[in-house]
């Protein structure tokens, strides 16, 4: 238990009579990426705020970087870096001034501060924009500056609250690479929250699914995918009449009336696909689109969070 970067037992938090976190347990080994996954309002941000000393928990035994959150918050602060959901940069001053401000607050010497600032601006591709006010930065640049500021103090544990929310796909992939490099290059521990399943799948060593203030499941992406039953073949129709006749022919299939689609359980193997196709032919069903769906975190997520929305809607 000594190499846990973050250990939480029975973490509880409520606002008035609304329970946000209802006794969650977390164990994050050093040098790994841990992802807290959940829909909006699940309590992800509250968990980060508590673990990063921003707000106090109501109950729970919480240790971050080996220090007790309740009694030694200042020691925790010295070990962590936080990049919140909303950019934590000073928009009124330049990117470089933001970095130097962090250097001053970490009590680096002037020379060290300039050196670290130059290194990090270079590493995050911000050297050109260094002298411009942060308010003029794009979303992706602001997020990169945000992380660069977090790294000034060389934190051992980094909290990233929805680091790619609102970023375009390219910036998102850049951010993923940055996060991977943090762990492989600097050996830090990353605690990441996200509502994107592919992000957790892509980055995290371990994933906890947070739903309604409780951990619904925890494990590696592979372990979680094993929770849900196999994949399916999805048939989509454009003509409501064709859809109706198909639903009466294929009573075994589960229906999605809204998008005119049917789902037939399948493991996705060639043999099964062929037999499904034969069966469709003999039933006289002609789908406009056929897709093979292997189980992914989406299935886990919807199985665990009990959402009835179609997976397509959230992608």
């Amino acid at each position: 238990m000594t190499d846990l970067a973050i250990a939480a037992n029975g973490l509880c938090k409520s606002y008035g009579d609304k329970t946000v976190l209802d006794g969650i347990d977390l164990a994050v080994p050093e040098g790994t990426i841990f992802s807290l996954l959940g829909p909006n309002g699940a309590g992800k941000t509250t968990a980060v705020k508590i673990l990063s000393t921003l707000i106090r928990a109501d109950a729970g035994d919480l240790r971050v970087g080996g220090h007790d959150l309740a009694t030694d918050a200042q020691a925790v602060r010295a070990a962590i870096g936080v990049t919140g959901q909303f950019s934590a940069v000073d928009n009124l001053i330049t990117g470089e001034e933001n970095m130097l401000l962090m250097a001053d607050l970490h009590h680096l010497s002037r020379r060290e501060g300039r050196q670290v600032t130059a290194e990090l601006l270079e590493r995050f591709d911000l050297t050109e924009a260094a002298k411009k006010p942060a308010s003029t930065y794009s979303g992706g640049m602001k997020r990169r500056l945000d992380i660069a500021m977090t790294l000034v103090g060389s934190p051992r544990i980094i909290f990233l609250d929805e680091p790619t929310t609102g970023l375009d796909p390219r910036s998102r992939h850049t951010m993923w690479q940055i996060i991977r490099d943090l762990v492989t290059g600097d050996g830090v521990t990353v605690f990441l929250t996200t509502q994107y399943l592919d992000e957790a799948d892509e980055l995290a060593h371990r994933i906890a699914v947070l739903n309604d203030g409780r951990i619904a499941a925890e494990g590696t992406a592979e372990e979680l995918k094993r929770i849900v039953p196999g994949g399916h073949v999805r048939l989509r129709f454009t003509d409501p009449a064709a859809y109706q006749s198909a639903t009466s022919a294929l009573r075994e299939a589960s229906r999605d009336d809204e998008s005119l689609a049917l789902q037939i359980p399948s493991d996705g193997s060639q043999r099964e696909l062929r037999s499904i196709l034969d069966w469709l032919d003999s039933a006289g069903v002609e789908a406009d689109e056929l897709t093979v769906h292997t189980p992914d975190l989406d299935d886990v997520f919807f199985a665990l969070t009990g959402s009835t929305q179609s997976t397509e809607a959230l992608r």
Partner: protein, 271 residues
């Protein structure tokens, strides 16, 4: 990524001084980059000064009695307007504290191993410095249009300067508290209105004895009037009486009140 934290853990006091001066530098940088807010706030006292001297000057000086002329009225008006300048400048403080609190950067500061109060201390010292600068600027305009102190000794000048600084400190702490409880910059600006409204109902423009009897106690004992009468006494040699102690008591009281109010708001968990 060469450097970890400073090898020796600094003492609490040196940490406080160091982090507060970093925060002060940040606030002064803001003020230097965006001077328009401060300058806009200076406009009110300067406009009032010119308005009351050049437009209403003759009527107002008649109100002073004893055959006073316009230059007598300038002398009467300036001490109050200097203190009004402080009230006006601290509205800017309330706005900038409130704006700051809505920014993510404050959440970052709260998760760093820095002196916790440094954010507010930086704002307070920055604000007091801005107040003093503003008073000097408005004072320069006053001198340009003919204000002269009458035989103030160096000691009285020092006391006047001390009073201005103390008054600025008191209003600043109140403004910081107003900024902390205001959800937005607009709300902060509205909540801080008393800081500019109170000098209007003080002895800034007209003597207390010219006001209706029922209103005189209100005007006499609100925080601005004792400070104005004291400053008037120091610069112009008018009698100060009990106003000196009253002014200092108001300043110290407001500063302490504002300090504890702000500290408790700042230390409570953010939403």
């Amino acid at each position: 990524m060469s450097s970890p934290l400073a090898p020796t853990r600094p003492t609490r006091i040196s940490l406080a001084v160091r982090d507060s001066s970093t925060m002060l530098r940040r606030n002064l940088l803001h003020a230097r980059r965006y001077p328009s807010l401060t300058l806009n706030l200076l406009l009110t006292p300067v406009m009032l000064l010119l308005l009351f001297v050049y437009i209403f000057g003759d009527a107002m000086s008649a109100g002073l009695g004893g055959g006073a002329n316009r230059s007598d009225y300038i002398a009467y008006l300036v001490p109050g307007l200097l203190l009004m300048t402080i009230g006006s400048t601290t509205i800017g403080t309330a706005v900038s504290v409130s704006t700051d609190m809505t920014e993510g950067i404050i959440a970052r500061f709260r998760t760093m191993a820095i002196h916790r109060g440094s954010v507010l201390i930086g704002h307070v010292i920055g604000s007091v410095l801005q107040c003093v600068m503003s008073v000097v600027l408005v004072g320069a305009v006053a001198v340009a249009i003919g204000f002269r102190s009458t035989g103030a000794t160096p000691l009285e000048w020092i006391a006047a300067f001390g009073l201005i600084t103390l008054f600025a400190l008191a209003l600043t702490w109140i403004a910081v508290g107003m900024g902390l409880v205001s959800p937005s910059a607009e709300a902060a600006s509205n909540n801080a209105m008393p800081l500019i409204f109170l000098p209007l109902i003080s002895s800034t423009f007209v003597p207390l004895h010219s006001m209706p009897g029922w209103f005189q106690p209100i005007a006499e004992y609100q925080p601005f009037t004792p400070a104005i009468e004291t400053l008037r006494g120091l610069l112009l040699g008018t009698p100060i009486g009990h106003n000196g102690w009253l002014a200092v008591a108001w300043c110290v009281g407001l500063a302490i009140l504002g300090y504890f109010w702000s500290a408790s708001k700042f230390n409570s968990d953010p939403k």
